[in-house]
Symmetry: C2
């Protein structure tokens, strides 16, 4: 027998038990026969913070459960007012009580899993020689799509909140960093709240010098598979708590199908859905496509018109872009990437074509004057990847303090 | 003899040598006698991207240098226009050419070191059971000091760019995460550009449940010492390149002095500098104090009036706060922390006292109604720590794309 201290929040007290919520989860503690120990308990409200001195029984027999700790003394730290959330109800999509939901066991499991997922991604990248960098959030102009930018005053300048770290990571790789990744928040002024969009997102921009489209896809399928495999190990308890069907995750192994946009249009049409070559694959069409796959797949070489200004054209088929997106069935796009254009004339044309002002991108274009290199970049949507791995219905469940369109930024 | 490929940017070509800048640094490559190989070189401008097929000589004798690779074939990838930076000049403080400075060897060394410093911090925290979290950047109001907040429109709401993740990390720890850290950018609308301030900063907020001020300081001095020790090993090449005096870093071992604010005021006064009890220790006074120490030191229990609204008072001396700052000689404060107030009445009073609107903090106060716990938090200034470790004169040298007051946010 040894005595130890457990700290946490009282959840419930029964005749012979109390339940303590700690950082490791909920623990059952046995009450002793001692009436003086039990006496104090009656007045302590749930969610009060308490310090429990317990006697830990010896280990159970080989392979068995450790026996339940027995309470020796309980000290009230701070009492709780009546806690407003119903312990049987799931508040994970109700942002008005987000700061209180964080106390529920589901939130704790999600937060721990989110941490382990990011750690797995980071370590996988670093094993391959990537260095982590930080990029700025106040910037000059939209770098993804003009419609979704938050404009802000920056001293007496008009500025924008950055939509993606890609331009900065591109510049670093084009300057000699070779392989760089940036785990960054970005801002998207989305107009519609959807289950897979937020106004503030976390993503990981990964650029590699001297890589081409196929090398990048091979890297990404290995990265995603390695991370999924590690998460299956490291987050087994969290996946079980959340009721995630792990069979779907166990199928995630390379290679992933490379589905051409051309073939995708045929498949969508054959399935009776209307789409014309040249159009974006909308969420309905994505759902149709997803039905054909039971693991992640790449959609490659979309029409140049639907791509962003900074990608190369396919030299043999200039109407398509050297771009790929990685889709996961049921969740949509988690990675978008491709070959960076290094031809300054093409970039200039593209900026005009896509409605940007070239003078806002002067420093970026400038960098391409001095021996640009072939390179690829991909953007890994961390919040959406977390949502998919954990089998959440809504992206906001996986983010501790989500920001959604048209909703006050609180808590 | 074996053949390999080296990719990078041509720096210089001499009669018998060329210098190639790669992600690993500058490499000297020997030219062969073959005139056809040499012929193409004359027309290639510095900073052009090239691919060199080289024959790598065998290893030199035991302990000796590997012999220099010999060029077999050079392929021009993309030519460079005349590069505008003088290779002999240091542009690390000139933001107008930041995107080009990143190609200079000093920038590469700083970026690699910055990556390794953050990795060392992260791993040290995780060894102690911290989990990493992400916090939002759009928020309701100032959480540090009203004067330095960027106000922004968030859809049709008035919002602010977050000044510190502390409120969110506090909420998570108070909800049951136990030990949480957030590596985050924050925004400070500083009015004066100084060598140690930026408008966008990166820092690491670390909170620990059930800790008190002394436990937190003991943790911090061990953390800082462990990171410094690891950086001395991992970044030896970078420190040498930057000419950092490592003797100063080698002295960084626990314990660090705990200097009370009271004693600090006496020491500053004895040194002939004017300060009155109750005043902030300004940068001149900090310099005076720093002269007494040859390694980092804590300044503890400052006047409550100079602390922030979320700290506890010393119960035995309510005129001082349970706060500590960690100073490094010559660089200023790199950590600020203390015991979080959990008394909702005190917090409410403090908010009013420090000129905040309590309704902007409602969700935060709300969280303290339900069994708050004693806990400490500290904020580790990553940009400033990097500046000090690398011996930089200006904080902007250590940040790839710094943002400074009253300067357009570009590149």
């Amino acid at each position: 027998m040894s005595t130890s201290i457990l700290r946490g929040w009282l959840q419930a007290a029964e005749a012979d038990w109390l339940v303590l919520r700690t950082a490791q989860g909920e623990l059952k503690i046995q009450l002793p026969d001692d009436a003086s120990v039990r006496a104090g308990l009656a007045d302590i409200t749930p969610e009060s913070s308490v310090i429990c001195e317990v006697e830990q029984g010896g280990q159970g027999e080989e392979g068995g459960q450790e026996s339940c700790p027995v309470l020796c003394r309980l000290t009230l730290c701070h009492p709780s007012e009546p806690f407003p959330l119903d312990p049987g109800k799931d508040y994970s999509r109700d942002l008005s009580v987000r700061h209180l939901w964080l106390r529920q066991p589901k939130a704790g499991h999600i937060l721990r899993a989110r941490h382990k997922i990011l750690k797995a991604i980071r370590e996988a990248l670093e094993e391959h020689g990537f260095i982590g960098v930080q990029t700025p959030l106040t910037t000059q102009a939209a770098c993804v799509c003009s419609g979704s930018v938050f404009e802000i005053p920056f001293y007496d300048q008009k500025a924008a909140l950055n939509q993606s770290p890609w331009m900065y990571v591109d510049c670093l790789v084009n300057s000699g960093v070779d392989k760089a990744y940036a785990v960054m928040p970005s801002f998207r002024k989305e107009q519609e709240p959807t289950p897979s969009h937020l106004s503030e997102i976390w993503h990981i921009q990964c650029d590699q010098a001297w890589f081409d489209q196929e090398e990048s896809m091979a890297f990404e399928e290995n990265l995603v598979s390695a991370v999924v495999e590690r998460v299956l190990d490291d987050c087994a308890a969290e996946l079980a708590f959340l009721g995630r069907d792990v069979a779907e995750l166990e199928r995630v192994k390379p290679p992933f199908e490379r589905l051409s946009y051309d073939r995708a249009v045929e498949m969508i049409t054959e399935a009776g859905h209307r789409i014309r070559w040249g159009e974006d694959i909308d969420s309905d069409a994505q759902r149709v496509l997803s039905g054909f796959f039971d693991k992640p797949f790449f959609l490659v070489e979309p029409p140049y018109e639907t791509a962003n200004f900074f990608f190369n054209r396919n030299p043999e088929r200039p109407e398509v872009a050297m771009v790929h997106d990685l889709y996961v069935p049921g969740c949509g796009e988690i990675i978008g990437g491709g070959e960076r254009a290094s031809d300054i004339e093409l970039l200039y044309e593209n900026l005009l074509h896509f409605g940007h002002l070239p003078e806002d991108y002067e420093w970026y274009l400038d960098g391409k004057k001095y021996g640009p290199i072939p390179h690829t970049g991909f953007n890994f949507g961390f919040d959406r990847f977390t949502m998919w791995l954990l089998g959440l219905e809504d992206i906001r469940q996986g983010v501790p303090f989500p920001r959604v369109p048209h909703t006050a930024p609180r808590p």
